[in-house]
Each structure stands twice: as structure tokens, then as C-alpha cells.
């Protein structure tokens, strides 16, 4: 690193980016935020009850998927999850960080792919039975909750794992409906 590079590295704002003006929003989103907050307050109790009634089995399934995902990760690379083993096998801290980063990167990539797949399946689905629609709404709520958590802990591997699992469930519902639709078309 040259002296100039070093100076620039330590300099706060060598290009004068702070002189750029703030960008005017040109819109007022308060009404939407207010209604979302009021709806949140109202639905808090209702969703709690419906979640307890209908979502018990789903929580178990999601947990199992999560545990399965974590177990697979542990099997694939036991050293990264066992510090003692890591030191025995000379796996350093930097390798641990790199491995975690790789895992998160892979999950983010998978999440993006699943998001695309769900989008395509949604577009290709003509109609949906009420029961499935409710289930989809539940899943989308859960994905929103995970997204909310992710905004606070963006590098949580467990949260990205949960997001992928939820998207997988969502894709499965659309896939099943698509197969039903396709079967009907074929019968005609």
C-alpha cells in the first residue's frame, strides 16, 4: 500500500460524497404506514389465536426442516461447529468466518432462486382453494416475520435457513395446485 493509498484509507471523504444533496422523496407514505400499524395492533391478538389453532402442526414441520438443515450443515463440516475439533485440525478462526459466510451466501442464493420459482408458480396458478389460500397467507406472514428479524440480524444463518424452508413450503403448495390444474386440463 502506497502512502497515498494509506492517506486515502484513513481520510473520511476524499471524493466529497457528503456534498451530494439529499434526495427528495416526492411522496408521502404516512397513510400506508399508519394503516399498517393500526392493522398490526388489531391483528396481533387475532393472529395469535389463529396461529395457536391452525399453526401448531406447521411449527413442528418447520422446526423439523430447520433442524434437518442445521444437521446437514454440521455433517458437511463438523469442524466449524466444534471449536475443539477446529483447533485439533488446525482450522483457524478465519476459516470459520469464511465458512459461515459461504453458508450464508449459499442460503441467500437459494432464497433468491426460491423467490423466483414461487413468483413463476404463482403466475402460472389459475385458482386456489380457500384452504390453500389461507395456508399461503400464513406462510407469507411467517416469511414477513423472518424478513423483519433479518433486518436486525442480516447475517443469521438460521434465519436465512428458515426463509428458504418457508419458501420451499410455499412453492410446494403452488406446485401441487399446478399439478391439479394440469390434471384437469389433461382430462378434458
Amino acid at each position: 500500500m502506497t502512502a497515498h493509498d494509506e492517506w486515502e484509507q484513513n481520510s473520511d471523504d476524499p471524493l466529497g460524497l457528503r456534498n451530494l444533496e439529499t434526495i427528495d422523496p416526492g411522496h408521502d407514505g404516512w397513510a400506508d404506514i399508519e394503516s399498517a400499524l393500526l392493522a398490526h395492533q388489531d391483528s396481533k391478538q387475532a393472529s395469535k389465536r389463529s396461529w395457536q389453532r391452525a399453526g401448531g402442526w406447521f411449527a413442528v414441520a418447520a422446526s423439523l426442516l430447520l433442524v434437518f438443515g442445521i444437521s446437514m450443515r454440521n455433517i458437511e463440516n463438523p469442524a466449524t461447529n466444534n471449536p475443539a475439533l477446529a483447533s485439533d485440525t488446525n482450522v483457524g478462526a478465519s476459516n470459520f468466518v469464511a465458512q459461515e459466510t459461504d453458508n450464508i451466501g449459499a442460503l441467500i442464493g437459494l432464497s433468491q432462486n426460491m423467490e423466483n420459482q414461487v413468483k413463476q408458480l404463482r403466475q402460472g396458478t389459475s385458482s386456489m382453494p380457500a384452504e390453500s389460500a389461507i395456508y399461503i397467507a400464513e406462510l407469507e406472514d411467517l416469511i414477513a416475520q423472518v424478513d423483519n428479524e433479518l433486518s436486525f440480524t442480516p447475517d443469521s444463518i438460521d434465519l436465512w435457513g428458515q426463509r428458504v424452508n418457508l419458501l420451499l413450503d410455499l412453492a410446494q403448495i403452488y406446485q401441487q395446485q399446478w399439478q391439479i390444474d394440469y390434471g384437469r386440463m389433461a382430462a378434458l
Binding site: P14, L20, E21, I23, G29, W30, E115
Partner: protein, 197 residues
């Protein structure tokens, strides 16, 4: 207003009101910080449409979470972090090609630049950077975050942040120089055309 513009003091009464779920207090907070939050989101996401969604979601999250805010740091710093986290999260979720589709064309034609000077060039150059480079250079140079903090936000190492910063600054410098050259050429061409007319 220049730079981040986020460092606005919030009075205790309004904060307490927001913690109780008082909508008037929430609205006051929204009105105070909406501009800086949106501006920051645009700088990170580049796309105005996406930035609008990010800002909305960030405020909703912040108002839901504000009862948990302990006041150990200034409120604006906490809110700014919520916006940044939402923006990063949103960039991560965005498939690459969708980001291109959604991209709100903020770029202006070279002719529009005439007379607007270096600031416009820098703004455009910033948009030419990759998401990662733009994020790091903005968080470091404008928002004043340390490499350690940036690394934590993006889930990478400090050296990653330093490398990205160096790369982003070098690229920006190249883009600004090339823009200046193109601007001069076009300006000269325009003068020549005017003379002919």
C-alpha cells in the same frame, strides 16, 4: 441539506409517545426522518421504487420495535441502522436480473449534465458502482461507519470492507474523470453546432 442528514435530535416526549403507540408521535417522527431515510435508501439501493418500499418497511419495523429502544445511543442512529439493515436485506433478496428490471433510471443524459457540475457527475458515478461497492463507500465516507461496523452489517470481514472501499473510490475517480472528459467534448460539440446554426 447535504450528506446523510439523519442526525436530527428527537425530543423525549415524542419518543415516549411513539413507545406507547401514539400515532401522532409516530407521524412526527416519520415527518422528521422520512427525507433522510429515503435518501439513504436510494443511495444504497439505487432504485427509487425499491428505496420507497425499503423506507416504508423500515418505518413500520421501527415503530413496532421502538418500545425496545433503550436510548443508549441517539434515536436517529438507531433508526438509520434499521433503514440500512432493511436496504441490505432487500438488496440480498433481489434477484440480480430483477434488480436490473426494476432499476429506476435515475441517470440523466449527458446533455442534462451541462451546467450541473461535478456533483451530478459524482451522483451518476455512484450509481455505476456495484451494489457492494456503493454500499461500503457510502456507509464509510458519508455515514461515517467504521470498517468493523460495516463488516458486521454485511456479514463479511473488515478486510473485505477495506478492499471494497479502495475499489469503489478508484472506480469513482475513474468515472468522474471520464465523465468530465465526455462533458467537455459534448460541450465543445454543442458550441460548434451553435456556431454553425
Amino acid at each position: 441539506m447535504m450528506g446523510s442528514g439523519f442526525d436530527i435530535h428527537l425530543d423525549e416526549v415524542t419518543l415516549a409517545g411513539a413507545k406507547r403507540g401514539d400515532m401522532r408521535a409516530c407521524e412526527k417522527i416519520y415527518r422528521s426522518y422520512h427525507g433522510p431515510a429515503y435518501s439513504l435508501a436510494v443511495r444504497i439501493c439505487k432504485c427509487r421504487e425499491l428505496a420507497r418500499d425499503v423506507t416504508q418497511e423500515a418505518f413500520i419495523t421501527a415503530f413496532k420495535r421502538v418500545p425496545q429502544f433503550r436510548g443508549e445511543s441517539p434515536f436517529w442512529g438507531w433508526l438509520r441502522r434499521v433503514v440500512i439493515n432493511h436496504a441490505i436485506s432487500s438488496l440480498r433478496k433481489q434477484p440480480r436480473y430483477d434488480a436490473v428490471e426494476l432499476e429506476d433510471n435515475m441517470a440523466h443524459t449527458i446533455g442534462d449534465q451541462d451546467g450541473l457540475g461535478r456533483a451530478m457527475d459524482l451522483s451518476q458515478a455512484l450509481e455505476q458502482l456495484s451494489d457492494e461497492d456503493r454500499l461500503v463507500v457510502w456507509l464509510h465516507d458519508v455515514e461515517g461507519y467504521k470498517h468493523r461496523e460495516i463488516a458486521q452489517m454485511v456479514g463479511k470481514t473488515e478486510s473485505y470492507s477495506k478492499t471494497r472501499l479502495n475499489r469503489a473510490r478508484a472506480r469513482l475517480r475513474t468515472l468522474i474523470t471520464s465523465n468530465d472528459e465526455r462533458g467537455t467534448l459534448i460541450l465543445n460539440g454543442g458550441t460548434a453546432r451553435n456556431a454553425l446554426a
